[in-house]
């Protein structure tokens, strides 16, 4: 299995779009690691993070060349959220992960394989629901944010190895349940000025 596909999403304004991450692995030098599909600098640099994260999490890194395509290829990709889907794609091509088609993955990798939070997770979860992808894997710190979206199962993960364990045995993991939070008390005493009246009516401008 040399070709593997995972799904992720990119922020576009305040909306998100699904991005397919295709990983192709073939004989060649491991120094050949090409990312195509209009990646920005942060996306292109992710190969260094991925290599270190895979090695440091004990998965090893194959002695093969890798080409990664971010489709649709004509949309600019920005940010570090693609670290995780690309890493899982490589593991998939190595045969360590079976299938991740029903999952949408986002997350930045640190060199030891820990997942770091990314921006725009709420939009990404909303996009996943729209497109019918039912499972969303996000960094644990973003879980409560993504969990706001109803209709998708959100999994907050701490480490790359945890994501792999989940993809091998999904039944062992529980989706994140958003806890209804208490609105915090903001009301403060308003000092009395003659314009208290004006304040009261200015909210009407809304």
């Amino acid at each position: 299995m040399a070709l593997f596909r995972t799904r992720s999403a990119a922020i576009y304004g305040i909306e998100a779009n699904i991005i397919d991450v295709e990983v192709d692995m073939y004989n060649g030098s491991p120094r050949d690691f090409v990312t195509v599909g209009m990646p920005d600098t942060a996306v292109r640099e992710s190969r260094e993070r991925i290599k270190s994260a895979l090695l440091n999490s004990g998965f090893g890194y194959p002695k093969k060349a890798v080409t990664i395509n971010l489709a649709p290829a004509n949309v600019r990709k920005e940010g570090v959220g693609f670290d995780l889907p690309m890493a899982i794609g490589i593991l998939g091509a190595m045969g360590l992960v079976k299938s991740a088609d029903q999952h949408l993955l986002v997350g930045e990798l640190s060199l030891d394989g820990t997942l770091r939070p990314v921006r725009g997770v709420l939009s990404i979860a909303a996009c996943a629901r729209q497109k019918g992808v039912l499972n969303v894997i996000v960094p644990a710190e973003n879980a409560s944010e993504a969990g706001v979206t109803e209709g998708v199962r959100v999994f907050g993960m701490h480490h790359l190895a945890e994501v792999v364990a989940y993809l091998q045995e999904p039944d062992r993991f529980q989706p994140f349940v958003s806890s209804p939070h208490q609105p915090s008390e903001t009301d403060q005493e308003i000092p009395d000025f003659q314009d208290v009246r004006g304040q009261a009516s200015s909210k009407r401008a809304l």
Partner: protein, 278 residues
């Protein structure tokens, strides 16, 4: 001090509003870790050195939402208004009218929602003592002109309520009488909002075709309005806005129709048109 407490009397966020605002904050990457939905209306108070891209959004690569969008469904507070760069203030006009910002770039056109309440504060002149009863203003006429000239007529025209805030007399500062609490004020706000909801529109969103019908005036009201328009030389936009504010004041007082006294109050909130810019 006042503006910061303003959020406390606004109606709570509806679920949809909270979702929109949280989404913008999420994309901007400023949600505190572990936060789910935002529950309070945002209050954004950018410093007056803010750039135009910082205010309406933009930036290299994928444009990010600016302060006006971060204040979506909340309050944008600009302290020391004349200190802001002129081009930064002028770009506020379009979001104030459209409640959204559209950024056109060579390779994409993006739209960020930006429905916010604008609250501004400014001194009457550079030294701050113009019109003060005890201290003397030392600004020259030209200095005052230059200071206030930063704020253009069209921008001022879009601001519905102007309030002069004189220094608090010592006695009042030390008095122990407590005033109305935010919670009490909020109750009145919510009541007025209910009334408007029954009418079908919040006053600020009232379409101009319905404006005349909803804000029907009696004879005394018509005369008051006509006189104010003539004397103060107000624009058509100011006319519509005064009517909406008057309707709101009537709602707050639970009055069926807009009377002359509601109108008079609405007109006196346009004091800056009258006192400072003429």
């Amino acid at each position: 001090m006042l503006a910061k407490r303003f959020v406390g009397i606004l109606p709570p966020l509806t679920f949809q509003e909270a979702l929109e605002t949280t989404q913008i904050h999420s994309v901007a990457g400023i949600l505190p870790p572990g936060t789910g939905l935002l529950t309070n209306r945002p209050l954004r108070a950018p410093h007056h050195t803010v750039s135009d891209a910082g205010l309406i959004g933009g930036g290299a690569g994928m444009p990010r939402p600016g302060e006006v969008s971060l204040a979506h469904n909340g309050v944008l507070f600009l302290d020391e208004l004349p200190e802001f760069a002129r081009n930064v203030l002028e770009i506020l006009r379009q979001p104030l009218e459209d409640r959204a910002v559209t950024l056109a770039r060579s390779n994409m056109t993006l739209s960020f929602p930006a429905s916010f309440i604008l609250v501004c504060a400014l001194n009457p002149c550079r030294c701050g003592f113009r019109g003060d009863a005890t201290r003397e203003c030392r600004c020259t006429g030209a200095e005052i002109q230059r200071y206030l000239g930063k704020i253009s007529g069209p921008l001022l025209d879009r601001i519905d309520l102007h309030i002069e805030v004189p220094a608090v007399p010592y006695k009042e500062m030390r008095s122990k009488d407590s005033s109305e609490s935010s919670a009490e004020m909020r109750v009145r706000v919510l009541e007025a909002r209910m009334i408007q909801q029954r009418r079908g529109f919040y006053n600020a969103y009232l379409p101009s075709t319905l404006l005349r019908e909803v804000c029907k005036l009696d004879d005394a009201g018509e005369r008051t309005l006509e006189m104010a328009m003539r004397r103060m030389g107000l624009s058509a936009r100011a006319h519509d806005r005064i009517l909406k504010v008057a309707r709101t004041i009537a709602d707050l007082g639970r009055a069926e129709s807009v009377g002359a006294k509601h109108l008079a109050e609405a007109i006196q909130y346009r004091s800056l048109d009258r006192n400072y810019w003429n």
